[in-house]
């Protein structure tokens, strides 16, 4: 071609409907008016227009088109463009939002898939890059898949950073690739979107400190702590617990350490200290265990007024104070929930639940939770079959003759709904210990009496009593205090 | 031209004879003695792996005219090691002093610079006249929890080093040992010795800042010391001395509330009163057998005493 001829005609489509054709002019071509004409090969009339740009946007041909380009002062140049010569580069995706969740160090990315432009059902691949540090380094690159639906769909993706988002700025870029199977031309990734940034604390003037601040994490976690400081402040070292760790520089105002497989911390937590030239910054990490599932959950009532549930907590969580493991008792039938005043250090793990009017069966869920996790145990119980009376009180001898005596005792609780089985222990120095059972209708906070016969005259006896439910035995009460009586002489 | 040239022990030194060409005929002398040709490379003097003994005046003369072309004072030495720094208040609450020395000599002149920072305040350290490596700081504040940071930098021609001390006001309070320790037998008391002493003269205000004392004594025939701590007063009567046995006695001092124990005082010796045997002349001589031992000053072993955490200065 002669000087100034149009050359290197290239056509790119971003939406499979139109294409942008560009060309350049061989050396020393003057920039003037250009007549651009094209015609598709199905003999439709030629379309022409004049442009000063070396760029035109025209529809994509079904198969091929013939293009003639004539710049002022040059010969007409003709090109034939086949569909296979056209390359498909999707429009650069546009990030709609990038939201940080600092407590969980999670980024949420939202973008539009711009699907309305494309036919239904195309496969789309989205490459997302996360970058960090000065100079920027790629931390991770993931490929996300979606199917286009010929509608603009907002896609959402979450990423959890291995370090607190406060530590340094996090940048996110995205590009896409659309598998337009029908399109015969070359297909390529779009350009990367401009990077969206979540600024770190190391970009905020006057900000300093160790992050994360006072986290609660599981034993065995791998942790990253960073120290944000002033630019001119020299950092001496970073200490986790009592050990100094090798530092990584994230930026001119941020250094980090990596702690692997963290051990359980003591009750006041593990200190993470950043020693600067003339200052200290720090955080405290509480490393513990998620609660174990409570074992041997058991519930009983001592008095039909309250229900006492007990359990074995399992491994201590190592968390205390406001981070301690908390227990709550939820009863499904009534929907009532009770929080239990018990801590891991308590010797007995007991929780009281009120007996509800006209409710015998209780569907308990013992919920246990701490900042690291939660667990639960459940138990369905009929409290009339779980009676464990309190110790009988005020055992006294009310009548006495040479061969029998009458005993009276008191039991706290309202047992009107059940029969009580009480056992009298009779012992004396002459004879073997004997047990005498007596069944009696239960009453509300009442005294009970029974007659003990076939005793020997003028003999000293010791008596004790314990009680339980008669119909559905569950557990004996403790023995009452003993009482001593000598039968009268014959 | 002549000047001082510092070189490290073990260095290889090359001296050029002023402006003379390499191939010029020259003569080198060290401290007036001609240097053997084997040390020359042309007109250059080559000294390999110099040692301290090679310090001295080096001259180079032009071969025929004996004009002096080059003269230098070679000083072979070492860069300074990390200096040993100690700060102490023996005149609390007036102030404290810091003293320092180098763990090993450098054989060349050293220059010391000390900075004392209290919180954000730079404090003046009044230097003693050389060669005493010591300076004194006045307390501007008392009872401060802010730590003092003392940095001593030593520089010589061959290098530089420094050391830093950070301490609490109370921690460095350490009185000088008690003075004028006197031990006397108590007439007619074969098991008693009366010991008295004075507050160290360097302690400025014993009334507002009283000292407590720690007495240790033992008969020369035994190694085990006996101890007694005294909260006030500057005298004590030993009542359990072995009759007739010569005793060695020392005293240490400490501020009643803060700091550490002083070193032990100079040791004194005394023997309890003994009854004169009857056949001797009527005049019973009671001799005060007090003598001040001039035994070489023995730094007291670190002795754990009942005052929790208090250790006698060693």
């Amino acid at each position: 071609g002669s000087l100034g001829d149009p050359q290197n005609l290239k056509c790119v489509t971003h939406n499979l409907q139109k294409m942008v054709c560009t060309w350049d002019v061989s050396s020393r071509g003057r920039r003037g008016q250009t007549d651009f004409c094209y015609t598709t090969n199905d003999l439709t009339p030629q379309v022409c227009f004049t442009t000063k740009e070396r760029r035109v946007e025209i529809p994509i041909p079904e198969s091929s088109i013939t293009v003639t380009i004539k710049s002022s002062g040059t010969a007409t140049k003709e090109f034939v463009i086949h569909q296979k010569d056209i390359s498909f580069v999707p429009i650069t995706p546009h990030i709609l939002s990038l939201m940080p969740d600092f407590p969980t160090s999670t980024l949420n990315l939202k973008w539009s898939d711009n699907g309305s432009v494309f036919p239904y059902g195309l496969d789309a691949f989205w490459q997302i890059q996360i970058l960090r540090k000065e100079p920027m380094e790629v931390v991770t690159q993931v490929t996300y898949y979606s199917k286009l639906t010929h509608e603009d769909v907002i896609l959402s993706w979450n990423w959890t950073s291995d370090m607190p988002l406060e530590c340094t700025s996090h940048y996110v870029k995205i590009r896409c690739y659309i598998n337009a199977t029908q399109f015969v031309g070359s297909k390529d990734w779009s350009d990367w979107s401009p990077a969206e940034v979540i600024p770190g604390k190391d970009t905020e003037p006057g900000e300093s400190g160790v992050f994360p601040l006072d986290p609660v994490v599981a034993v065995g976690s791998d942790l990253t702590f960073c120290c944000v400081h002033e630019e001119d402040q020299r950092i001496t070292n970073m200490i986790y617990g009592s050990k100094s760790y090798t530092m990584m520089q994230l930026s001119s105002r941020s250094h980090a350490i990596r702690v692997l497989n963290a051990n359980v911390s003591n009750s006041s937590g593990t200190n993470v200290v950043c020693r600067l030239e003339n200052a200290w910054e720090g955080s405290v990490v509480f490393v513990g265990y998620a609660p174990d599932t409570p074992q041997n959950l058991s519930c009983e009532t001592p008095n039909f007024l309250i229900i006492k549930c007990t359990w074995k907590p399992g491994r201590p969580s190592g968390l205390y104070g406001e981070r301690r493991t908390k227990y709550s008792l939820f009863e499904r039938t009534s929907g009532r929930n009770v929080s239990c005043e018990v801590s891991e250090l308590s010797k007995d793990h007991v929780c009281d639940f009120p007996v509800l009017p006209a409710q015998k069966t209780y569907d308990f869920i013992l919920g246990v939770s701490n900042p690291i996790g939660q667990a639960k145990s459940s138990l369905l119980v009929d409290i009339t079959q779980r009676v464990h009376p309190k110790t009988p009180e005020k055992l006294t001898v009310t009548e006495n003759n040479s061969t029998s005596i009458q005993l009276r005792w008191f039991i706290n609780g309202s047992f009107a709904e059940i029969r009580l089985l009480c056992q009298i222990e009779i012992s004396s120095s002459h004879s073997e210990r004997k047990l005498q059972n007596v069944s009696t209708p239960g009453r509300k906070s009442s005294t009970y009496t029974t007659q003990v016969n076939e005793l020997h005259p003028h003999t000293k006896y010791q008596f004790r009593v314990r009680c339980s439910a008669a119909d559905h035995f569950w557990r004996w009460s403790d023995w009452s205090r003993g009482v001593e009586q000598t039968t009268s002489e014959a | 031209d002549s000047h001082v040239q510092y070189e490290r022990v073990g260095a290889d030194v090359t001296m050029k004879c002023g402006s003379m060409d390499w191939d010029a005929a020259v003569t080198w002398t060290a401290n007036g003695t001609d240097i053997d040709e084997s040390h020359l490379n042309g007109s250059y003097l080559i000294l390999k792996n110099v040692g301290l003994s090679q310090s001295g005046q080096y001259f180079c003369y032009e071969g025929s005219s004996w004009h002096l072309k080059y003269q230098t004072n070679l000083r072979v030495g070492t860069p300074p090691k990390e200096p040993v720094l100690m700060c102490r208040s023996n005149n609390y609450p007036k102030g404290f002093y810091c003293s320092w020395h180098l763990p090993t000599p450098t054989y060349i002149p050293n220059f010391f610079n000390i900075s004392v920072i209290h919180g954000t305040k730079d404090m003046v350290c009044e230097k003693d006249s050389p060669p005493k490596n010591r300076c004194h700081i006045k307390y501007l504040q008392l009872f401060s929890t802010v730590k003092y940071k003392v940095t001593l930098t030593v520089t010589n021609a061959l290098g530089k080093n420094f050391t830093t001390l950070t301490f609490d006001e109370f921690a460095i309070v350490k009185p000088d040992p008690p003075e004028s320790v006197v031990a006397k037998p108590v007439p007619n008391n074969p098991r008693r010795l009366e010991v008295s002493w004075q507050n160290p003269s360097s302690w400025p205000d014993p009334e507002s800042f009283p000292l407590k004392f720690f007495l240790r004594y033992r008969p020369l025939i035994l190694d085990q010391w006996q101890h007694v701590e005294l909260s006030d007063g500057t005298s004590h009567t030993i009542t359990d001395a072995y009759a007739g046995k010569e005793y060695i006695i020392q005293v240490a001092a400490k501020d009643s509330d803060i700091g550490t124990w002083s070193d032990w005082s100079v040791a004194v010796h005394a023997t309890p009163w003994t009854e004169e045997p009857k056949h001797l002349t009527t005049e019973a001589q009671i001799t005060e057998t007090t003598s001040v031992s001039t035994s070489s000053f023995m730094a007291p072993p670190t002795t754990k005493i009942c005052d929790k955490g208090a250790v006698v200065g060693s």
Binding site: L213 | Q141, L142, F143, P210
Partner: protein, 195 residues
Amino acid sequence: MAAADSPSTALRRRDLCSRGIRLAGKMRADVVDLLDAYVEQQGLDASASVAAVEGVPLAAVERWDEQTGTQRLLENLAAYRAFRALLAQMLEEQREQLGEADAGLGRALAAVLLQVSAFAYHLEELLRLESRGIPGEEEDGPPPPPRLSRFEQKLRGLGVLRELAHWAVRSVRDLRQLAKPSPASGAAPGLAESP
């Protein structure tokens, strides 16, 4: 110039001062023990330098020897009232953060709080002895504790205990000054003029 003391006032002051010196000495020993336990329990570095903590009375004083007796008592009283509130805050934090995990430290803290309260009362007695008005306590009580991170709370606690330990020493010195007989009359100086 305060009127010359009556012998009974001087005697009473000396008695109060010597009892105060013993109380402050015991308090200091307990605070030092508490400090050691606190540093260990909180996993701190004993050499940690703690910047001046807001709201904590500094024991540091310039020209201490020039203070009058009244100044000494009033400054002491203000300090120990502040420490009473600070220690109560620490005790609350301790319960909140540790629950029963470290009851030992909680008990030691409560014991020192008791001593601080007792010492504050003792100082008020000394001021009453000198018919000096007892400054009223701040009506609305101490300012609420600033919202601090856990590490800042730990350092703040360290700062409080360190200052208290130094205050105890200062108080012993102050009371010794007060107990000193004034050179002229041989009786203890009126509060105004004690050097």
